[in-house]
Structure formats: structure tokens, C-alpha cells
Amino acid sequence: MVPEYYLVIKMRESIIMKIHYGTALGAVALVAVHILMRLSQKFSDSLQYQNVLANYHFLPYALMLEVILILLSVHGFNGLRVILLELKQGVAYERAINYGSIVAMIVLVAYGSRTILMAGMGLS
């Protein structure tokens, strides 16, 4: 049984929103690079199996994808958390939404990182 005090993660809303804005700015820059990479060759060619794998084998690009994944997961699920908190209020509901958002972020980052790691290490 996890002690009660481990279950209460308090972060001021202003800090959360600064993270929201920071992840937004970071994601804008890196997603722009990600999209431009697709345009560096013919679009249909860029989606061919070998070409996609080659992207994962190129370490800087793979790292960039990992950073995009983290930034967008945090930004996206925090935005969803804000919308859901506005729709309904209550101590239990809000706690569920807050922790649910963190869990969703972790799950998405974990799943995406698995793809990047395994594809990068040639484990497909």
C-alpha cells in the first residue's frame, strides 16, 4: 500500500501552465523540422519501409522524435486535463483527472519510446 503522502503531488497551476507554454514552443520548432524532413524527398518515397527505418537509425533524428513525443504528450494531455477539469468539479473527480493525465502521458511516451528504441536498435 503506497503511503498517503506519496499520492499527493502538489504543483502550483502557474508552474503547470509554464510547462504547457514551454512544451508548446519546443514542439512547434521540432515538429516543423519533422515535417520538413518528410518534404526532403518525394512524400510517397519518404514513407517507404527502408527510408523510415533509416530515420530511426540516424541518432540525432531519433532523439528529436523522442523529444517531440515527450513535449507533445505533456502538452496534449495537460490540455485535455484542463478541458476535463472545467467540465466537472469535485475532489475525487479532479484527483482522478490529474493522475489519469499523468498516467496517460507516461503510457504514450513509453509506447512511442519503445518504437523509437527498438526500431533504432534494429529489433523490428
Binding site: 507554454y21 508548446a24 514552443l25 512547434v28 515538429v31 518534404l39 518525394k42 512524400f43 510517397s44 514513407l47 519501409y49 523510415v52 527505418l53 530511426y56 513525443l69 507533445l72 504528450s73 496534449g76 494531455f77 490540455g79 485535455l80 478541458i83 472545467e86 467540465l87 504514450l108 509506447y111 512511442g112 519503445r114 518504437t115 527498438m118 526500431a119 529489433l123 523490428s124
Partner: protein, 144 residues
């Protein structure tokens, strides 16, 4: 009974973009595009994970996404992404207190300084850029 007579507009009121000018429309579009992009992100993470299952699985996934329907979805995503980015930058700057006008003595007919022409221009520019990006994206995707 107390809930009913709290008289809150509810989701219907929150999602209604009309009645209050361009800023309310931009708020509604920002929310809609944000949710759409989150759904696309989850789908995209799943879609790209199929590369781990080999060439056949990857090509199978491509046969689903590299279709007119798939391209249409992608064009919409491009539009949502550009609008959300442009309007988001406008919001970040405005929420820092810049570009919302200066406090002063209100004069009849009391037009709000925060809803000024610069703000409206930024919203229209975001919409225009999204439209342009969608057209370019459609050209690349359907022209291939």
C-alpha cells in the same frame, strides 16, 4: 433540482462559438483543433509502431493511410496544426499582457481595447495560414 436551476449553460454554451465575436470563435477552434491533434497524435504513435512488425505490417498500415480518405484526414490535421500553433502563439503573447491594449478612461460606446484590431488580425492570419497550409498539403498529398 438545485443543479437544474443553477442555470449553467453547460457544454452547449461552452461549445457555442456564436454570439460573442471573433475571439469566441478562435477559442472554440483552438479547443477543437487541440482535441483533434491529440487524437491524431495517439493514432500516429500507434501507426508508426507497426514498423516493428516488419515490412508487410508497415505496408498494410500504409494501405490504410495512403488513401484519399487518409490524405483528407492528413490535410485536416495540417490545418488544425497550423491554426493551433498560430493562435496559440497569439494567446501566449496576449496572456503575458502584451497586445491587449493599455488601461485608460473608458469612453462611450465602450469598445473593449483587448478585442482590438491587432488581435483580430492575428486570428484571421492564423486561419489564412491554416488554409494555405491545407492547400499546399493537399497539393503534395494528392499530387503525388
Amino acid at each position: 433540482m438545485a443543479e437544474q436551476f443553477s442555470n449553467r449553460e453547460g457544454i452547449k454554451g461552452m461549445t457555442n462559438p456564436t454570439r460573442y465575436g471573433l475571439h469566441r470563435v478562435a477559442y472554440w477552434l483552438q479547443r477543437l483543433s487541440g482535441l483533434g491533434l491529440l487524437a491524431y497524435l495517439i493514432g500516429h504513435i500507434y501507426e508508426t509502431s507497426t514498423i516493428l512488425n516488419g515490412k508487410a505490417a508497415w505496408n498494410n498500415m500504409l494501405s490504410l493511410t495512403e488513401t484519399p480518405g487518409g490524405h483528407l484526414v492528413l490535410v485536416l490535421v495540417i490545418g488544425m496544426c497550423v491554426f493551433h500553433t498560430g493562435n496559440g502563439i497569439r494567446l501566449m503573447i496576449s496572456e503575458g499582457g502584451k497586445g491587449v491594449g493599455k488601461p485608460g478612461q473608458p469612453e462611450y460606446p465602450y469598445r473593449a481595447s483587448s478585442l482590438n484590431s491587432k488581435q483580430r488580425l492575428c486570428i484571421w492570419v492564423s486561419i489564412a495560414l491554416a488554409a494555405l497550409a491545407m492547400m499546399y498539403g493537399a497539393g503534395v498529398l494528392f499530387g503525388d
